[in-house]
């Protein structure tokens, strides 16, 4: 047998070229989480780089095997803690496919509204923290101001600002409350103006331009070989978006564009994210306008909790409620891989069911985890300062990487 525990010696430079190995992180403010980078420097130039992760690994996938399906939902939300609606959608969608459960149109529209708000939220955090690393401190406050309004909306619909547990297998837990629509409309009306302001701050900012232009370019084919998806891939000119290509959710009902870049440098990545926020605003507005009437959750009493009002009048409803809360629903044996377009790329969820009320395996293909492989290609040959910019524009989420 091979000895996999030993580190394979990487290519070394000639001894006259002196290299300095430094350790960035795990607690470095610019790593946006607990990421450690072992960087080999020749002067100011990065010659080699290895990401080391696992510092916030909490065994979520293993723990999911010990929880009934409906208890897994809040667990997987905490993987990529900036894209919780997407994690829920990936898991619920996979279980719905295993159950072959149709979800009502109103539920798909409500899911789209929340996911698109979540996409804006995730991009805002990424943009704000990256701009902060590049010295644009005010950007951070502007981005987090708008993010807070999104969190207010989430709080209104679900009672929680983050990790809302709003999506259920079969639909969403509750219909949107009164007043949500007006508040969402006012946000959607205001957000394009705010995006204009971000652009006014950054687009002609000499420092920002010099820091991002032609930095961290990786050829498109190399990105595809490395499995990179999401804004990073689109910035390199590949118009790949599972919202258009997946055909999974209600996205085919909406009119929106896929923004792409040309060069694939840091500036293009920033531009693609900005343009995506505009598209997300458009999608959410269309979903709100076209929101169909009807139930917000499927009417399958073996899977979905009965309405609260029935519990005091209907014996069957009480039995169903008791069975669902104590044991949970059973899922017929099978396996499904379901992928959606998360804010950082393809977010896939693999669920293996063995016929019991608990999944036999839950695996998340997290986009940050796969995208991080392109980081070495982005940085080698560039300056240390560009490494910070590249990491910000890569926008990894360590909760999602380590799971």
């Amino acid at each position: 047998m091979s000895t996999p525990e030993t580190t394979v010696e990487r290519e070394r430079l000639a001894p006259e070229q002196e290299l300095l190995t430094i350790n960035m992180g795990p607690h470095h403010p610019a790593t946006h989480g607990v990421l450690r980078l072992v960087v080999e420097l020749e002067g100011e130039v990065v010659r080699d780089l290895r990401p080391v992760m696992g510092y916030v690994h909490t065994g979520i996938e293993k723990n999911c095997e010990d929880k009934s399906y409906w208890k897994v939902i809040p667990f997987v939300e905490r993987m990529d803690y900036l894209a919780y609606f997407f994690n829920m959608e990936a898991f619920c969608g996979a279980v719905e496919r295993l159950l072959e459960l149709e979800i009502p149109p109103r539920a798909t529209y409500l899911r789209v509204i929340h996911m698109e708000l979540n996409r804006i939220h995730s991009h805002l955090v990424g943009l704000g923290t990256t701009a902060l690393d590049l010295g644009a401190v005010s950007m951070f406050w502007y981005c987090f101001r708008e993010r807070d309004r999104i969190l207010d909306l989430f709080e209104m619909s679900s009672g929680q600002r983050m990790h809302t547990r709003y999506f259920q297998v079969g639909g969403v837990i509750e219909d949107i409350p009164r007043g949500f629509e007006a508040k969402l409309r006012s946000f959607l009306g205001e957000m394009p103006v705010r995006i204009d302001q971000y652009e006014a701050l950054l687009d002609r900012n000499e420092i920002f331009l010099r820091r991002t232009r032609n930095v961290g370019v990786v050829p498109r084919q190399r990105l595809l070989d490395l499995g990179v998806t999401g804004p990073l891939l689109r910035a390199a000119g590949e118009p790949w978006d599972l919202r258009k290509a997946g055909g999974s959710s209600a996205y085919s009902d909406f009119d929106f564009a896929i923004p792409v870049g040309t060069v694939g440098d840091g500036y293009d990545r920033y531009r693609v994210r900005i343009a995506e926020m505009r598209e997300s605003v458009k999608i959410a507005a269309q979903a709100l306008d076209g929101l169909p009437e009807g139930p917000h959750i499927a009417d399958d009493r073996k899977v979905v909790l009965p309405p609260r009002s029935e519990l005091s009048t209907s014996m069957e409803a009480l039995i169903h409620h008791f069975k669902l809360v104590t044991e949970g629903f059973r899922v017929p044996p099978g396996e499904v891989y379901y992928s959606i377009e998360g804010p950082k790329g393809e977010l896939g969820c693999f669920v293996l069911a063995d016929g019991s009320a608990k999944p036999a395996r839950v695996h998340f293909r997290d986009p940050s985890f796969v995208n991080l492989q392109a980081f070495r290609d982005m940085c080698v040959g560039g300056y240390v300062a560009d490494l910070i910019q590249n990491l910000g524009m890569l926008d990894p989420n360590l909760g999602g990487i380590d799971r």
């Binding site: 047998m1 091979s2 996999p4 525990e5 580190t7 394979v8 992760m53 696992g54 690994h57 065994g59 996938e61 293993k62 723990n63 095997e65 010990d66 496919r97 295993l98 072959e100 595809l224 070989d225 490395l226 499995g227 990179v228 790949w240 290509a245 997946g246 055909g247 099978g334 396996e335 499904v336 891989y337 992928s339 393809e346 896939g348 693999f350 293996l352 036999a360 395996r361 695996h363 293909r365 985890f369 796969v370 991080l372 492989q373 380590d402 799971r403």
Partner: protein
């Protein structure tokens, strides 16, 4: 997506070139899957990637699963994607447990499969993850180490026979009962 007859056709075409490389096909929940012989999985992947008319050039995801108590118990899943046609196909390689029923040194034997990093560079981290959690050794992987668990960790935590465990929580009121708890 290739439908069930299309999948049989793919199986036939691969098996003409590599005898018994595809052992079986399944088509569940609209998701086609080829069950590949673990010894020839690279040939299957290469054919699906390079054959004109197939061109599954993107590996979306590589992950492992433990089907205990089924035999063979492990599986490595390759989720392949053809981007222009938006078609997905899954390749599954089932691996037995060489340590089953063994004692002594043989009980530490690990299942092995060829690494596909040469074909799909994206598999590097994901194969490390499968090794980390299931103890599946990928032959020819450039840097096969644990990726998320600590480097000195012993055991393969996502196997189904690995206990969930847990650590006892120490409350302040119980500290007098366990002197030296802080060591």
């Amino acid at each position: 997506m290739p439908d069930a007859p299309g999948l049989e056709l793919i199986r036939q075409q691969i098996n003409e070139r590599n005898a018994d490389a595809v052992l079986d096909t399944t088509f569940e929940h609209d998701q086609p899957a080829l069950i590949a012989d673990p010894g020839q999985v690279l040939a299957v992947l290469r054919w699906l990637r390079d054959e004109p008319g197939q061109q599954y050039r993107f590996l979306s995801s590589l992950h492992a699963a433990d089907y205990l108590p089924a035999e063979p118990r492990f599986a490595v899943h390759y989720e392949l994607l053809n981007m222009p046609r938006v078609e997905r196909v899954r390749v599954k390689a089932l691996l037995g447990d060489p340590a089953a029923g063994e004692n002594g040194a043989a009980a530490a034997a690990l299942p092995e499969i060829d690494s596909c990093v040469e074909l799909f560079p994206t598999a590097e981290f994901q194969e490390r993850e499968a090794y980390d959690f299931f103890g599946i050794v990928f032959r020819g992987h450039p840097d096969l180490r644990r990726i998320l668990m600590p480097e000195d960790y012993v055991g393969w935590p996502q196997r189904r026979d690995f206990p969930i465990g847990g650590e006892p929580v120490l409350f302040t009121k119980d500290e007098p009962d366990s002197p030296g708890w802080y060591e």
